[in-house]
Amino acid sequence: MLTPFLVLLALTGPALWLLRVHRWQHAGWLAAVTPAVVTGWLLAQLGPAAQGSFVTEQRVWSEAFGLALDLRLDGLGLFFGLIVAGMGTAIAVYAGYYFEKSARLGYFYALLFLFMTSMLGLVSADNLLALFVFWEGTSITSYLLISFKLTDKNALEGARRALVVTGMGALAMLGSFVLLGQMAGTYSISGLLALPAATLTQHALFTPMLVLVLLGAFTKSAQFPFHFWLPGAMAAPTPASAYLHSATMVKAGVYLLARLHPAFAESPLWFWALLVVGGLTMLVGAVIALRHYDLKAILAYATVSQLGVLVMLLAFNTKVAVTAAVVGILAHALYKGPLFMVAGIVDHATGTRDIRKLAGLARSLPLVGAAAILAGISMAGIIPTFGFVAKELLLENFFALIEAGHSQLGWAGLVAVVITGALFVAYSLILLWEAFLRRNSPLKQATVHHAPSTAFVLPVLALTVVGALIPFFFSSIEGALFGSAGSAILGAALEPHLALWHGWTPIFLTSLLAIGLGAVIFTQRERIRKLFTKAPEFKGQAVFDGAVDALYSLARWSTRTVQGSSFPTQIGVPLMAAAGFVGYALSRDFIADLRVDWDAIPTFYEVVLPLLAVVAALAIARAQSRLSAIISLGLVGSVVMLIYVFFSAPDLALTQFLVEVLTLVLLVLVFYRIPYHAYPKQPKHRSFKYLLISCAVGVWGFGMALLAAGKPLAQTISSYFSLNATAAHGGNIVNVILVDFRGFDTLGEISVMVVAALGGYALLRSSRMRPLAPKKKRKERRNA
């Protein structure tokens, strides 16, 4: 059933586009039908999945290469699939109102649904290569969605950055998949995970493979130092930001790590890489979020921070950590998505997302305010929300670490988490207070000029309410939802026991401490912001742009050098390459073949004539007038013709003679009509360079000629032609070769002549142009 659903999803978007849905008042609800159906179907799979019966499908594509579309929805896939489809339903409705009859709604839906297909395929793929294809599908749709606003330069650059960063990561990941396939002997993910972990971790290639996997996951999930692309991606339309860049796509990296967790978690490299990178990202994201005023930028950095938390949790191979990760993923999707959507509605209603211009929105937009507050306290992790549970688990992980005897690591982690938690609280409060609750804004307050309809807010509210209700129904869903997903990550059975209230435990007290600290930061926010304006900022973006620019300059430099704008450089490089490389190869491998046959004595004329040609050629090179050059060329041609005569090639001599005369006539005719125009003299050094190139080419020609005259390097087929010429009813062997044995070559030659003749005729005949038009007129027209 899964493949049909994927196809259906992929087709829905383009179908909506073709139907021109933007003309309909409530298009969003129609668009939401397909993802809603998929969500329902996925929900129905939860029960069987908890029992251990998974949906699996296989569509073989190329057996020889091990390419098959293997789909397998285990607990983890189902968990992510539910987020994708469920959030997708809400986003589909939301986007219908967000774009509000804009003609590009259909295009947006097409991209959105293609993305949804890729993402759903990604989380259900059971083949590494299929996973990679879907992975790239999400990258490309993400690129197109970020650059949705084609006139916005920031959007285009942000899109390019996102694509290049995630694309490079994906390439690294593809390399790791190939290595992994070689190491495991299979591309099937379930087959890979079924192997004993030591087969992989003890393999010689394990470390490079793991590094490549991590590169892929870290770039996709915006981990430090690749995090800069995610805030840049916020130029996307808000529905896309809410969906791709907070809830789903950026979690693909986390998904990959979770997916491979059972196989790799024993490796110390895995542990330290995830712990350090995740922890750094967590702190960096949380701190930078404070310095921004744009609603979406704050949320983007908060997302970076949360992704860091998830990556850090996956470093551990314990039940607590895995539970915390799973709960964190869902909780984050259910509060960050709505918050983004709220930001979109605020932008829509007031025309700005700058928090300094906003105030009191809770009064003017009560429904939006309610949704924002509900989601905001979840982000802050204040009891009794889903976010609170997630944070408790996160803290519990480090307490467990301390209890297990790793006290240094545990304490360090605990401190980092408390700081991050406090920052989460702080910017949640800032967001809620400044945008929704306070009465006056520091800058000129933006007014609500375009109040959203209730239906616009409905999907946001629905998501927040689901998020708010989940903690109260833990006992009935924890096994099916978190348990089976966690088991897939852990590679062992996991039975989480979640609860909102554990009593006055140290964990709860620490949580309170974080909230208290956050409140302090909140009250001191102006001072902190002032500090930030002075502090230097790490500009990953600038580094990246610098690298890209450097690459462009390198390309420009090499193109200029190798290809150049001028004809001499264009021709000089290949000639030098021929002279250099071929000359080197000749002198190394064929030096023995460069023998001179001293016995074949030339006659007197055969020495004098070439000498004449040499003199004539030198005369051309030094010729001052065109006419003398043309005459000298004729002289060379005549000598060549005579050489053909002396060496028994009458056909060649005849042809050469005709061609020589024709060329001469043409040259004289044309150059007679072209007024002579003296060219500025070449600078000395350039003349010298050209002279050197010429000499090198000459030496190369000398070697080639000697080689050609020597012993044949391969068997010749000349005798075949000679012996069979009479069978082809011809006496002139050369002619028989041309018109019979190699007739098609001659046909090709004739075609070349026809093309040249037609081209020349067209050039000479089309006289519909007059030279030297006034420049002014053209300029006027261009401006108009």
């Binding site: 060219y679 500025p680 002279l691 062997i733 041309l738």
Partner: protein
């Protein structure tokens, strides 16, 4: 010995041809190309010059009994025959192109930066049936945009 003479001739022709091709002057370029063809043809011809013989023409077809040692190698000749004709086509086309260029610009001009003999700015020189050359405008505009990007 003959091979040496041939090789020397080929070497000088090639060197001179290359030198001419590297000049900016379009006329010299065309002549250089013609010279280069001669060099390459002689290079191919050189494969069969060591052994002398009759022209590869079987005069008496009826009594031909497979005695081919008296003839020179016909294969290089066949190759060169094709080469001569094709290179003539190219040279002729180049000459037509030169003529055309001249009729457009009246004078061969050349700036220091663009020293491609066929480089010209056609859009500045064109008028006439304008819609025929709309596309050229786009090309020129694109070039300008690229140039401004490059200089940035």
């Amino acid at each position: 010995m003959i091979a040496l003479v041939f090789a020397g001739l080929v070497a000088v022709l090639m060197a001179c041809a290359t030198y001419l091709l590297l000049q900016r002057h379009p006329v010299r370029m065309v002549i250089g190309l013609g010279l280069f063809t001669h060099a390459v043809n002689l290079l191919i011809f050189g494969t069969g010059v060591s052994e002398r013989g009759l022209p590869p023409i079987i005069v008496d077809k009826a009594s031909f009994a497979g005695d081919i040692s008296q003839y020179v190698d016909p294969l290089p000749q066949a190759l060169i025959l094709t080469a001569i004709v094709i290179s003539f086509g190219i040279v002729a086309f180049l000459i037509a192109l030169l003529h055309r260029r001249n009729s457009l610009e009246a004078v061969e001009s050349c700036t220091d930066r663009v020293d491609d003999p066929f480089a010209m700015e056609p859009a500045h020189a064109l008028e006439g049936v304008e819609e025929d050359y709309e596309w050229l405008e786009d090309v020129v505009l694109m070039n300008e945009i690229n140039n401004s990007k490059g200089s940035r």
